[in-house]
């Protein structure tokens, strides 16, 4: 630990390597599950975002920055931007209906017997999700890059 140039990430075991690969999709799926159920059960954008970011960070630790960037396809800063954009956009439909800024709008309909609830609130929560993921990954990715 005394040598500042020593790399922390690459000294991993085969188990971590493989586990991270397997866990990534599962964790991301779980994070989406948390996000969508968030309005009714514990969960929501913040928690889901943290889980999702945690999944990518685990992969990052196991496989390094380049590999992570390759599977992410997005720059984490873009995720942050998408999140802030969705959060802001969700504020406007209310204006179109002449209600105060950010009032929630709901569209509920049946799809093959299941009740589907779409709303600006959901859009907002997805925005929260992306903003949280984007923030954490921006910090962690640029830190690891700075080290390499």
């Amino acid at each position: 630990m005394t040598d500042p140039n020593k790399k922390i990430m690459k000294d991993n075991t085969v188990i971590l390597h493989t586990a991270a690969l397997a866990l990534l999709p599962l964790q991301l799926l779980f994070s989406v599950f948390l996000l969508l159920r968030g309005h009714d059960e514990p969960g929501g954008g913040f928690i889901a975002g943290l889980v999702g970011a945690g999944a990518v960070v685990l992969y990052l630790f196991a496989h390094g920055v380049d590999a992570t960037r390759r599977i992410m396809r997005f720059d984490p800063r873009d995720l942050l931007g998408i999140g802030l954009f969705l959060g802001t956009v969700s504020a406007f439909p209310a204006l179109l209906r002449g209600e105060p800024f950010l009032s929630a709008q709901w569209w509920i309909f049946d799809l093959a017997g299941t009740e589907i609830k779409l709303s600006t609130v959901l859009v907002f929560d997805i925005g929260v999700y992306f903003a949280v993921v984007g923030t954490i990954l921006t910090v962690v990715v640029s830190l690891t890059e700075a080290e390499e």
């Binding site: 009714d40 514990p42 913040f46 943290l50």
Partner: protein, 115 residues
């Protein structure tokens, strides 16, 4: 339970302040972490602590059954936790950059470097 928490919160705040008063910059970071935890617990404790009644509405009902924990401080603390992480990340990186530039971790030495 809240009364016991009062003492725990006092201890956390005391430790946080003590760490932030140290000249070593690394200890400042530890102090910052303790401070944000202490603040979160403070908000949580003073609004009253309830066992086993999360603010959730069961399926099929319009209102929660019986009294539930106060959701508002929980919402406040939830955002506070995430914000505290953002601030921590920022300050940790800032401290790291400062250390790289001025090459000292002594806060009292740092004050002379910008003159």
């Amino acid at each position: 339970m809240e009364t016991l928490m009062a003492y725990a919160i006092g201890v956390l705040f005391g430790c946080a302040v003590y760490m932030m008063l140290r000249r070593s910059i690394v200890k400042l970071v530890i102090g910052l972490i303790i401070l944000s935890n202490a603040a979160n617990l403070l908000i949580f404790a003073v609004s009253g602590m309830t066992r086993g009644a999360p603010p959730l509405i069961p399926e099929g009902l319009q209102l929660p059954e019986g009294a539930v924990a106060d959701p508002l401080p929980q919402a406040l603390v939830l955002t506070a936790i995430v914000i505290a992480f953002g601030v921590l990340a920022f300050s940790v990186v800032l401290i790291h950059r400062a250390f790289e530039v001025v090459e000292t971790d002594d806060l009292d030495q740092m004050k002379d470097t910008d003159t």
